[in-house]
C-alpha cells in the first residue's frame, strides 16, 4: 500500500466531553456521563438512563436556519467537523475542493427529527393518513440521511466523494475505513470522516426496551453502564459525533501537520447469523481483527491497547472476549482492553468514530482509558479490562472494534506513524 493515511485533525462531541480536551479529561479521569434521561420524559420506559450531551447548537456557531434545518445528529456532525478542521490547521480555502471528500456514518439518521415531525403530522399517532399540511420543508433531509454528509460537505467546502455510511453500530468505523480507502486508491487527498447519531428519543428507547437490550438500572444512572462486569444487564444509550481529518502521510508531513495517528488497517466482516444475535464463538469479529492486522502488517503481539466494543450487554461482552482470544491468542491475556462506553454510553453509529478518536488520543498520551464501573468482572470475561482507573501505558498500536445489528463486525488498527518508520 503506497499511500498511507493519517489523522491530522480530531473533533469530538461526546456526553460529558465537548471538544477533544474535555472528552479526553473525562476518559482519563474515569468519570461517567450517564444519567436519567432528560431529553424526553422516560417514565413509561423500561430503561430510563442515557448519556446525553448538554448541547446548545447556537453556542457552537450554528445559525438559526441551520438549527431548524438539521436534525440534532447532523448538528453534532457539523460542529465536530468544524472542530476537526480547526485542529488540523489546514487552510481549507486553499484546498482543492475536488480532492476533498466527506464520509459520515450514522446508524439511525435523523430519527429524533423524524419522530418530532411524525408526531405533528400524525397528531400523536391518531392518523395513519398523516397530514402533509403540517409538514416542514426540510423533512426530506430527515427522510434520507445522506443530508448529514451533504451538510458536512457544505460546512467544509468538500466537492469530492461524499457519502453517508450506515452499517448499524459499526457505521463509525466503517465510515472512516471507507474514507481511508478513498485516499489510498487516489480518489481523494483529504477526507473529513466520522459519524454522528442522536438516538435518545422515545421510539429508539421503545425498540431497545422491546428487545431488552438497554439497561433497566434506573436507580443508579451514573453506574448503569457496566461492560464486562458480572452485574451488567444492558447498554446505556448515548449520543454524539466524532469527525476526523484524514490526509495522505507525505502530504501531511510536507505541510508540517500535527499527525495524531496513522490508520494502518481496517476490515469488516458479517456474521451472517442473526440481525441482533451473536454466536458466542466470536469467529467473525476475530476474522475482522486478523484481516485488519494483516492490512497493517502487524502481529497480534504488536497491539498495545484494545478499545473494545464493550457495550455491556450479556451477549456482546462474552462474544467479544471470545473474539479477542481467538484473534490475539495468548496476547489477549496480556494486552490492556477497555470500553469507554462505560463512561459515555453507546451512541450507536457514532461511537465507532468516537472510539477511533479515543484510540488516537491514547497513542498520543500513552494512556489507556479505563472501563468504569467494572468492580466484579464476569468470570467469562477474564481479560485485562482495565477497571476503574486509567493506566499509563506505552501505546503505539491500538486495535479498536465494533459490532452491530445486521451482523456487522469491524476492526481498525491505529499506530503511531513514527514507530512504523523506525
Amino acid at each position: 500500500m503506497n499511500r498511507r493515511v493519517v489523522i491530522t485533525g480530531i473533533g469530538v462531541m461526546a456526553p460529558g466531553g465537548i471538544g477533544t480536551k474535555e472528552f479526553w479529561e473525562l476518559l482519563s479521569d474515569g468519570r461517567t456521563a450517564t444519567r436519567r434521561i432528560s431529553l424526553f420524559d422516560p417514565a413509561q420506559f423500561r430503561s430510563q438512563v442515557a448519556a446525553e450531551i448538554d448541547f446548545a447548537p447556537e453556542e457552537h456557531g450554528l445559525t438559526a436556519r441551520e438549527v431548524r434545518r438539521m436534525d440534532r445528529a447532523a448538528q453534532l456532525a457539523v460542529v465536530a467537523a468544524r472542530q476537526a478542521l480547526e485542529d488540523s490547521g489546514i487552510d481549507f480555502d486553499r484546498m482543492n475542493p475536488h480532492r476533498t471528500g466527506v464520509t459520515i456514518g450514522s446508524a439511525v439518521g435523523a430519527t429524533m427529527g423524524l419522530e418530532e415531525e411524525y408526531r405533528v403530522v400524525s397528531d400523536d399517532g391518531r392518523e395513519w393518513l398523516v397530514d402533509h399540511r403540517y409538514s416542514v420543508p426540510h423533512l426530506y433531509g430527515y427522510l434520507v440521511p445522506s443530508s448529514f454528509a451533504a451538510e458536512v460537505a457544505w460546512a467544509v467546502g468538500a466537492e469530492g466523494p461524499v457519502a453517508l455510511v450506515s452499517a448499524g453500530c459499526t457505521s463509525g468505523i466503517d465510515s472512516v475505513g471507507h474514507a481511508v480507502e478513498l485516499i489510498r486508491e487516489g480518489s481523494a487527498d483529504v477526507m473529513v470522516a466520522g459519524a454522528a447519531d442522536a438516538p435518545i428519543s422515545p421510539i429508539t428507547a421503545a425498540c431497545f426496551d422491546a428487545i431488552k437490550a438497554t439497561t433497566p438500572r434506573n436507580d443508579d444512572p451514573e453506574h448503569a453502564s457496566r461492560p464486562f462486569d458480572d452485574s451488567r444487564n444492558g447498554f446505556v444509550l448515548g449520543e454524539g459525533a466524532a469527525v476526523l481529518v484524514l490526509e495522505e502521510l507525505t502530504a501531511a508531513r510536507r505541510r508540517g501537520a500535527h499527525i495524531r495517528a496513522e490508520i494502518a488497517g481496517y476490515a469488516t466482516r458479517s456474521n451472517a447469523f442473526h440481525m441482533t444475535g451473536l454466536r458466542p464463538d466470536g469467529k467473525e469479529m476475530a476474522e475482522a481483527i486478523r484481516a485488519a492486522l494483516d492490512e497493517a502488517r502487524l502481529d497480534a503481539g504488536d497491539v498495545d491497547y484494545v478499545n473494545a466494543h464493550g457495550s455491556g450487554t450479556k451477549q456482546n461482552d462474552r462474544h467479544e472476549t471470545a473474539a479477542f482470544k481467538r484473534s490475539l491468542g495468548a496476547h489477549a491475556y496480556e494486552v490492556p482492553i477497555s470500553s469507554i462506553k462505560s463512561m459515555i454510553g453507546h451512541s450507536l453509529g457514532a461511537i465507532g468514530s468516537i472510539e477511533i478518536a479515543a484510540s488516537a488520543l491514547a497513542i498520543e498520551n500513552d494512556l489507556v482509558p479505563p472501563t468504569a464501573n467494572l468492580r466484579h468482572p464476569d468470570p467469562e470475561c477474564d481479560l485485562d479490562y482495565v477497571p476503574i482507573t486509567a493506566r499509563e501505558w506505552r501505546t503505539e498500536t491500538v486495535l479498536t472494534v465494533g459490532s452491530g445489528f445486521g451482523g456487522f463486525q469491524s476492526a481498525m488498527v491505529l499506530t503511531n506513524p513514527d514507530r512504523r518508520d523506525r
Binding site: 423524524l114 403530522v121 402533509h132 445522506s146 460537505a153 450506515s166 458479517s270 445486521g406
Partner: protein, 407 residues
C-alpha cells in the same frame, strides 16, 4: 493491477416487471408500471401516482419466518438478491463465505414498518412497539438480511447518497473485489410508499402533481414538473473476472469499467454543478474517451433546472445530439436508492441485446439538444453505456459498463 470486475447476474423487482424477463419485455414494449397509489388512500394528497411492484405477494417468495420482521422494501430486496444469485448460478453455500459480501444502498430504510411502530408508540404506548423495530426500519436492514439469508460473511456495507446510491454501492463492491473479495452482491431495492414516507417525499418538492400516468413524469420535456416515486430496484452479482472464470461462470453481462463521483458546491456559492466532473471521471476511469460511449442512461430528474444541468453536461461531453440518451425510469418512476441500480441492470441488458429501451411519454424539448430515444426501442451496436445518477443535496455519480467481448 486493477482487477477486472464483471456482473455475472442480477435480480430485478420493478414496477413494470418482477424478474428480469418480465421487466425487460415490458421495458422494450414501453409498458409503464406507474398508476394510482394502491397501498394507501392517496386521495387527500396533491401527488397520487406511484410505481408500485404490483402483484407482489411476499408469502409466495419468502419464508414465513421472515415476514413479520421485514418491511415491504426488504422483502423486495430479498427476492431481488435471490434472483440475482440464481441468475449468476451461485450457491453461496458452495464457496468461501468470507469471500462474499453484500453492499446495498438505502434512502429511508423500512419506512412503512417505522410508521406503524411510531403509531403504536404514540397511540398505544411504548410496550406496543415491536421487537423487530430495532432493525426492520434501519438503513442497514437489507444488507443484514441478505447476508444472513445467504450466509455471506465477507466485507459488507451500506451507502446512503440519496438517489445516487445504486451506483455508489456498485463502486464500493468493485473496491472490495479489487482488495480481494471474490464476489459482492450490490445495488439497491427501495421504496417508502406509505403515508408518512409520502409526506416526507413531497416535502422535497420534486413530486409530480399530475394525475395522468402518461404525463406525470416527463424528463427533458417542456412540460416536466417533477417525478413519480416508485419502489423496487435491482441487486447485482459482481465478481472478480478471474474468480468467475475459475468457477466457469462465463463472461457475464459486462464489466464495471469506470466510475466517478463528485459533489456539488454549496448551494448559493455560485460554483458550477459537479455532474460533468463525475461523468468525466467515470469515462476516464474506464480508459475511454467520450466518443467510445454508445448510450447514456440519464438521471432524468424532470425538474427543469436539473434537466438543464444534465443536458448541458451531456452535450458538453459528447456534442449536441451525438449520443443516444434514454430514461427508462419513465416507466417505473424514480426508485430512490434502487433507481440507479435498476438503470445499471437495464444498461447491461441493452449491451446484451443491442437494443436501447425507450423513454416513454416524453416529447423532447429541442433546446436540450439531446438525441433522446423515445416511443420505441432503438437497435444499435452498443458496446459501452454511461449511467448517470444524482441525489438530492448535491450527489452526482456516473458509471461506465462495457460488453464482455469489447476489451
Amino acid at each position: 493491477m486493477n482487477t477486472s470486475v464483471i456482473v455475472t447476474g442480477f435480480g430485478v423487482t420493478a414496477p413494470n416487471g418482477l424478474g428480469t424477463r418480465d421487466y425487460w419485455s415490458a421495458t422494450l414494449a414501453g409498458r409503464s408500471g406507474i398508476d394510482r397509489v394502491s397501498r394507501f388512500d392517496a386521495g387527500r394528497y396533491p401527488s397520487r401516482l406511484a410505481g408500485e411492484v404490483s402483484g407482489f405477494a411476499a408469502a409466495d417468495h419468502l419464508p414465513s419466518r421472515l415476514l413479520p420482521q421485514t418491511d415491504h422494501m426488504t422483502r423486495l430486496a430479498l427476492v431481488a438478491a435471490e434472483l440475482a444469485l440464481a441468475d449468476a448460478n451461485v450457491s453461496p453455500g458452495d464457496a468461501d463465505s468470507y469471500g462474499m459480501g453484500v453492499v446495498t444502498a438505502s434512502s429511508a430504510g423500512g419506512f412503512e414498518f417505522g410508521q406503524r411502530e411510531l403509531q403504536n408508540l404514540w397511540r398505544h404506548g411504548s410496550r406496543h412497539v415491536s421487537a423487530y423495530q430495532s432493525f426492520a426500519w434501519f438503513y442497514a436492514v437489507n444488507t443484514g438480511q441478505i447476508s444472513i439469508r445467504h450466509g455471506m460473511r465477507g466485507p459488507s456495507g451500506v451507502v446512503v447518497t440519496d438517489q445516487a446510491g445504486g451506483l455508489d454501492t456498485v463502486a464500493q463492491a468493485r473496491r472490495l473485489i479489487r482488495k480481494g473479495t471474490d464476489l459482492v452482491l450490490a445495488g439497491g431495492v427501495d421504496g417508502s410508499i406509505c403515508p408518512w414516507g409520502w409526506v416526507a417525499q413531497m416535502a422535497g418538492g420534486r413530486l409530480s402533481r399530475c394525475d395522468d400516468p402518461g404525463r406525470a413524469y416527463l424528463p427533458f420535456d417542456a412540460r416536466a414538473a417533477g417525478h413519480v416515486p416508485g419502489e423496487g430496484g435491482a441487486i447485482l452479482v459482481l465478481e472478480d473476472a478471474e474468480a468467475a472464470a475459475r468457477r466457469g461462470a462465463g463472461p457475464g453481462y459486462g464489466e464495471i469499467a469506470g466510475y466517478g463521483t463528485a459533489f456539488d458546491p454549496r448551494p448559493g456559492s455560485g460554483g458550477a454543478p459537479a455532474l460533468p466532473r463525475a461523468m468525466e471521471l467515470a469515462v476516464r476511469d474506464a480508459g475511454l474517451s467520450p466518443g467510445d460511449i454508445d448510450v447514456v442512461f440519464a438521471d432524468g430528474a424532470a425538474v427543469p433546472a436539473l434537466d438543464r444541468i444534465e443536458a448541458d453536461a451531456i452535450t458538453a461531453m459528447f456534442g449536441a445530439g451525438r449520443v443516444p440518451v434514454t430514461v427508462p425510469k419513465t416507466m417505473t418512476g424514480r426508485l430512490y436508492a434502487g433507481g440507479a441500480a435498476l438503470d445499471l441492470a437495464t444498461a447491461l441488458l441493452c449491451l446484451r441485446d443491442g437494443v436501447i429501451p425507450p423513454t416513454i411519454n416524453v416529447t423532447p424539448e429541442a433546446a436540450y439538444g439531446l438525441d433522446l430515444v423515445t416511443r420505441r426501442p432503438r437497435t444499435a451496436p452498443v458496446r459501452t453505456a454511461l449511467i448517470v445518477a444524482r441525489g438530492e443535496g448535491g450527489f452526482n455519480s456516473a458509471m461506465v459498463v462495457r460488453r464482455p467481448d469489447d476489451e
